[in-house]
């Protein structure tokens, strides 16, 4: 898959996972993280990543990374 569309997809899936955590895991108690708060952060990060991928997708040809 094209890297830019891969970024959009990864961001969208991250945001969806965040939405599910925020919406459905509100009362769950865990030792390391609070799922609802983690869900909000994942939604923001996923949306930002998807937006970044979308901007790159419409912003011209992909630059090859030097190896």
């Amino acid at each position: 898959m094209n890297t830019r569309y891969g970024t959009v997809l990864t961001g969208a899936l991250t945001a969806l996972a965040g939405l599910l955590l925020w919406r459905f895991a509100g009362g769950v108690d865990l030792p390391v993280i609070t799922p609802s708060r983690a869900g909000v952060v994942l939604m923001v990060l996923g949306a930002a990543e998807a937006l970044f991928g979308a901007v790159r997708a419409v912003g011209g040809p992909e630059r090859r990374r030097p190896r």
């Binding site: 895991a25 009362g27 769950v28 030792p31 390391v32 993280i33 799922p35 708060r37 983690a38 909000v40």
Partner: protein, 197 residues
């Protein structure tokens, strides 16, 4: 083989945990229960040794070795906290003791979340060190790409957790005015809450 071993270690973790807590609170044999709980780290040592042995025997380094490193990192960073948390819930449900909870509101909660994040940093550092040791051990840049990507994954997870902890400083949870929160914080024991498993 490594995936099977990780699954075996995970199953072993819960079996030892259930047995340890069962001996402690159901059979009233706290010393035996504690001994079983103290066996938990042995599982991680077994996983570490077998992973190293697998690489030594010429196995191609792949995501399973990376996952093993992250699993061990989690246990170092959060294993004690996880067992203590489960022990507290078992004592509450099986022994009727009050549930001791972490602070829920304000700066006290933010400090708690920062401490938990330090555990995640420890986990990421341990996983990175183990993966770097594997990279040096393999000593072939063309074969270690997946191990390097797991190092990135570990720090990405630590970064996301850091942002979550930061939100507690930026937008702290406010104490409810009716005093409901303080009653729960004190661990009245009456509250039967949903517990993630």
């Amino acid at each position: 083989m490594i995936v099977a071993l990780i699954i075996a270690c995970e199953v072993g973790f819960w079996v030892l945990l259930a047995a340890g807590l069962g001996f402690r609170y159901l059979l009233r044999m706290p010393r035996t229960g504690l001994a079983l709980l103290l066996c938990e780290p042995v599982l991680e040592v077994v996983l570490l040794v077998v992973t190293a042995w697998d690489l030594k025997n010429g196995a191609e380094p792949d995501w399973t070795h990376g996952l093993a490193a992250l699993y061990i990192g989690y246990t170092v960073g959060h294993g004690h906290r996880t067992v203590k948390w489960l022990d507290g819930h078992a004592a509450h449900r099986l022994d009727g003791r009050p549930l001791v909870r972490a602070p829920r509101y304000g700066p006290a909660r933010a400090r708690h979340e920062t401490k938990v994040w330090l555990g995640t940093l420890t986990a990421a550092a341990v996983a990175t060190a183990l993966l770097q040791a594997a990279i040096w051990y393999v000593d072939d840049p063309s074969r270690v790409t997946s191990l390097e990507s797991w190092q990135y994954t570990a720090w990405r997870a630590a970064g996301i957790h850091g942002l979550i902890a930061l939100t507690y400083w930026l937008w702290p949870r406010k104490t409810p005015k009716d005093g409901e929160g303080s009653a729960k914080d004190a661990g009245s024991g009456a509250e039967r809450e949903r517990v993630g498993r």
